[in-house]
């Protein structure tokens, strides 16, 4: 597998042309703020006011490196950064002719070329950008660190096209590794053949069907015994929302109260998808399901979703987080914390899991919908760390997109009228207000 690298991403719509990045770049490299010394340039479109970026893209097959007659440019295999060695450079400037993005440019003051070196892994431009227009993306870890790890879930399972659960299982098991006992209660995850069908199994770790009702209890029993005999085996549950928030809630609540050591991941696709898209307690207000149908009298679900992750936080779990597959780096960071927390208590991760089949949207839209869920504050991303009583958002909840940008992508919301949309928008706001009480408390305490 090819190595992937960190990168500096540019979101033009967030840029206001303040030039802070340019000054920061010049300063960190020369101590002066003259834009002549900046390796990053922001250009403004005088017509539509939009902004463009000129910055080294640290290309995979860098033409500047190939065109250098002096061997002064090379791509660092570990960091992916294209390095310029001043002592080797003969100043022929062929590199400036090689780059299509003005990523390496001639500095008329120093009379040498210059290019971005990513500040050794802590780029000043991204750090100084207060608007998030420049972002240092470290998601390459997903490919480099976890991509090399064994996929403990076999190919050829029978998940629906574009299944988010499959994505989650593969990533999660990669991270958590083979010293794990996996529980997949009845539902989609078990339904795709994770435990096995007629003699064949899909998972390379120990895996079992608990009952829909007793996932947390069975894992608790196994973990207790492994503790007794001194083996550190991770207990991992992939529960659906029904087995977590509905009929399995008692056993989960009991296990959480007792501080049983496990990672419980709720893959919340907001209903009983495996049995044909019926309502669960996490089905959101207004959503169509086969038991909250849309007709001349009924217009989808009439109650709001059970705030499951908050309930788990109130259970005093060692670690509680929400996650989305559109933000995998965030998810991996949370998995790391969950693994650590599960050594001494329960780690609960509630993953927002759009379902192409049950929600009625094309499979290719999966990640986009997962992203819009977060960006509209429908699914705020946060984490709670019991040790220290920390609560914080892991993705900004300020300036959310209107909820319609999320709802309009999904078939199960197609029937919503203005009042229903208004209700959802208000609920999103209320949810954020409530969560902010936790985060503000945290901020007060920290200050």
């Amino acid at each position: 597998m090819d190595k992937s690298y960190h990168t500096i991403a540019f979101y033009p719509q967030k840029c206001n042309g303040c030039n802070d990045c340019i000054e920061a770049c010049a300063r960190i490299n020369t101590g002066e703020v003259s834009p002549a010394h900046s390796r990053i340039a922001i250009v403004k479109d005088s017509e539509d006011g939009s902004f463009g970026l000129a910055l080294c893209r640290q290309c995979g097959e860098p033409r500047c490196v190939m065109d250098c007659p002096a061997g002064a440019l090379s791509k660092n295999e570990d960091t992916g950064v294209i390095q310029w060695e001043e002592t080797k450079c003969v100043n022929c400037q062929l590199c400036t002719l090689a780059c299509s993005y003005a990523g390496i440019t001639y500095n008329p003051v120093t009379r040498k070329v210059m290019k971005c070196d990513m500040c050794g892994g802590d780029p000043a431009c991204a750090k100084v950008c207060g608007r998030g227009a420049l972002e240092y993306l470290t998601s390459s870890d997903l490919y480099d660190k976890w991509g090399d790890m064994e996929d403990l879930f076999v190919p050829g399972i029978s998940a629906c096209l574009g299944c988010n659960s499959e994505l989650l299982i593969r990533h999660t098991l990669r991270r958590i590794g083979p010293e794990t006992v996996v529980a997949t209660p009845p539902g989609c995850v078990a339904g795709v053949g994770s435990v096995g069908v007629n003699g064949f199994t899909a998972t390379k770790t120990p895996v079992f069907h608990p009952l829909l009702t007793n996932t947390a209890s069975m894992l608790a029993g196994a973990r207790r015994y492994y503790n007794r005999i001194g083996r550190d085996i991770t207990m991992l549950a992939f529960g659906g929302d029904g087995g977590t928030a509905d009929v399995g809630f008692q056993s989960l609540s009991g296990a959480a109260e007792r501080g049983e050591q496990m990672i419980y991941i709720c893959i919340d696709n907001e209903g009983y998808m495996n049995t044909g898209v019926q309502r669960s307690s996490t089905t959101p207000y207004g959503a169509w399901t086969s038991t909250t149908p849309v007709g001349s009298v009924l217009r989808g679900k009439t109650q709001d979703a059970k705030p499951m992750p908050v309930l788990m936080m109130m259970h005093n779990c060692a670690y509680v987080a929400t996650a989305s597959t559109a933000f995998m780096e965030d998810y991996y960071a949370k998995l790391d914390k969950a693994v650590a927390a599960a050594k001494h208590g329960m780690a609960y991760i509630h993953v927002f899991s759009p379902c192409p089949t049950g929600w009625r949207f094309p499979p290719a839209m999966l990640i986009e919908i997962a992203r819009k869920g977060v960006e509209t504050n429908t699914v705020p991303l946060w984490e709670y760390i019991n040790d220290g009583n920390e609560f914080h958002f892991t993705h900004s909840v300020d300036n959310p997109l209107p909820v319609q940008e999320f709802l309009s992508l999904i078939g199960k919301y197609r029937h919503l009228d203005a009042d229903q949309i208004d209700h959802i928008q208000k609920m999103n706001k209320r949810r954020i207000e409530m969560l902010k009480m936790f985060s503000e408390q945290e901020e007060r305490r920290a200050s």
């Binding site: 007659p69 062929l94 008329p108």
Partner: protein, 421 residues
């Protein structure tokens, strides 16, 4: 006889790029590279800088042996090719060894042209084409006080500058009206020549060599057609290059000035490709084929050849040869891309020139209708690579052409920023 899947003859930019391109797709197939050089690969482009002492010898090499070992590539040094048999799929080395190949890339580069100047056989002269030439020149230079450089291209200009930096009094012989005619128009070339003159390099333009004769102390005298006599301790010929194709006689591979290739860098013989200074390839702006002995072109062709040899699904044919280069001299910088030497507008050609001699700054944009076709610049704040890309993509500037003319740097960057994902 040894056997290899890929055989690459020549180990400079075209050969190296082809090899690296092949390895991206085929991590295991045997690759053998042969070079007539006794050393690790280097770029001829580095030699003027080496002569000037700007780069120590141990630093001129493009890749080290460990690099070839890591990529599992066999590098045969000191192995000049003396014959090729396209039917038997073999090449013959000077040592008599033969190598059987499945796919062959010829990237043997170009050697210096030695024009038949009257009396040339009676004097000691230098060329700068390989490391041995450069080492010899350095040795000669050390005892010299003056030099004559014959030629008007970038190698001639680079060499003249570096000889001047080394403290020699340098005279240049340029047969045409101006130097660098391949890249710059008269006005721009005049500006460059002025800078050379200001730095003590005498440039004699518009007059060819009448004869060359030896003088005392190993010196030589170059008599120009104008009657002017130039005397120097060192005589450097930089009058152009000629593809190295002698070894192909009788091979059945079609040649003209260089090895004739199509847009995939394929020669007339099956499973044989050619790239770089040795290849005579289709042109970008007009029909016909040309030898384009520049570094960027060698890399482009090496990449096209490598992708075709390995059947890379991302293969895109060679878009055609056009002029492009950068030129850094006496602290000034210049570049030229595409049809930059057109001086006069025509029906569909528009030329936009900005000349500020006081600031030693020059900028010229050439458009064909709404498309950029050429740019040349001296000391101008432009991104050569962006200009090159806009020309190569034949980007329709349409509505933004005026904006581009008034602010080519910003507009070019904006365009490429938007094109980038």
């Amino acid at each position: 006889m040894s056997h290899t899947k890929y055989l690459i003859v020549g180990c400079s930019h075209a050969g190296l790029t082809a090899m690296e391109t092949i390895r991206l797709q085929d991590s295991e197939g045997a690759i053998t590279m042969v070079t007539r050089e006794e050393t690790l690969p280097y770029s001829p482009t580095i030699l003027p800088y080496f002569i000037a002492g700007q780069v120590p010898q141990e630093q001129i090499f493009l890749r080290d042996q460990a690099y070839f070992d890591k990529l599992n590539v066999t590098l045969l040094k000191g192995a000049a090719v003396v014959g090729a048999d396209s039917a038997a799929k073999t090449i013959r080395l000077a040592s008599g060894d033969e190598i059987h190949y499945e796919k062959l890339l010829l990237a043997t580069g170009a050697g210096a042209t030695v024009p038949p100047f009257p009396g040339i056989e009676n004097v000691r002269y230098q060329v700068v084409r390989d490391l041995n030439d450069a080492l010899k020149l350095r040795e000669t230079m050390n005892q010299a006080k003056s030099a004559i450089v014959i030629g008007a291209g970038l190698i001639a200009m680079h060499s003249a500058e570096n000889l001047a930096h080394a403290g020699l009094k340098v005279s240049m012989v340029v047969r045409r009206k101006v130097s660098l005619f391949a890249y710059f128009d008269v006005a721009a070339a005049g500006l460059i020549e002025k800078i050379f003159e200001d730095n003590g390099v005498h440039i004699a333009t518009g007059s060819g060599v009448a004869k060359i004769s030896p003088s005392d102390g190993g010196r030589c005298v170059v008599t120009l057609e104008s009657g002017e006599d130039l005397t120097g301790d060192v005589l450097l010929l930089a009058a152009g290059v000629r593809p190295r194709i002698e070894y192909l006689e009788g091979s059945g591979i079609e040649t003209d000035a260089g090895i004739l290739v199509d847009n995939s860098m394929r020669t007339s013989a099956a499973d044989i490709w050619a790239a770089g200074d040795v290849a005579q390839a289709p042109q970008f702006f007009e029909p016909g084929k040309t030898v384009n002995a520049t570094l960027p072109n060698a890399v482009t062709q090496g990449r096209v050849a490598g992708m075709d040899m390995v059947s890379d699904p991302a293969f895109k044919p060679y878009s055609g040869s056009s002029g492009l280069n950068t030129f850094n001299f006496f602290g000034h910088h210049a570049f030229s891309v595409g049809l930059a030497t057109i001086a006069e507008p025509t029906e569909d050609i528009e030329v936009n020139t900005t000349l500020l001699p006081s600031g030693l700054r020059y900028q010229k944009l050439v458009f064909q209708k709404d498309r950029l076709v050429g740019v040349s610049a001296i000391n101008a704040a432009l991104d050569p690579g962006i200009m090159r890309e806009l020309i190569r993509r034949q980007t329709d500037l349409g509505a933004i052409k005026e904006k581009f003319v008034s602010a080519p740097l910003e507009t070019g960057r904006l365009l490429m920023s938007k094109l980038w994902r």
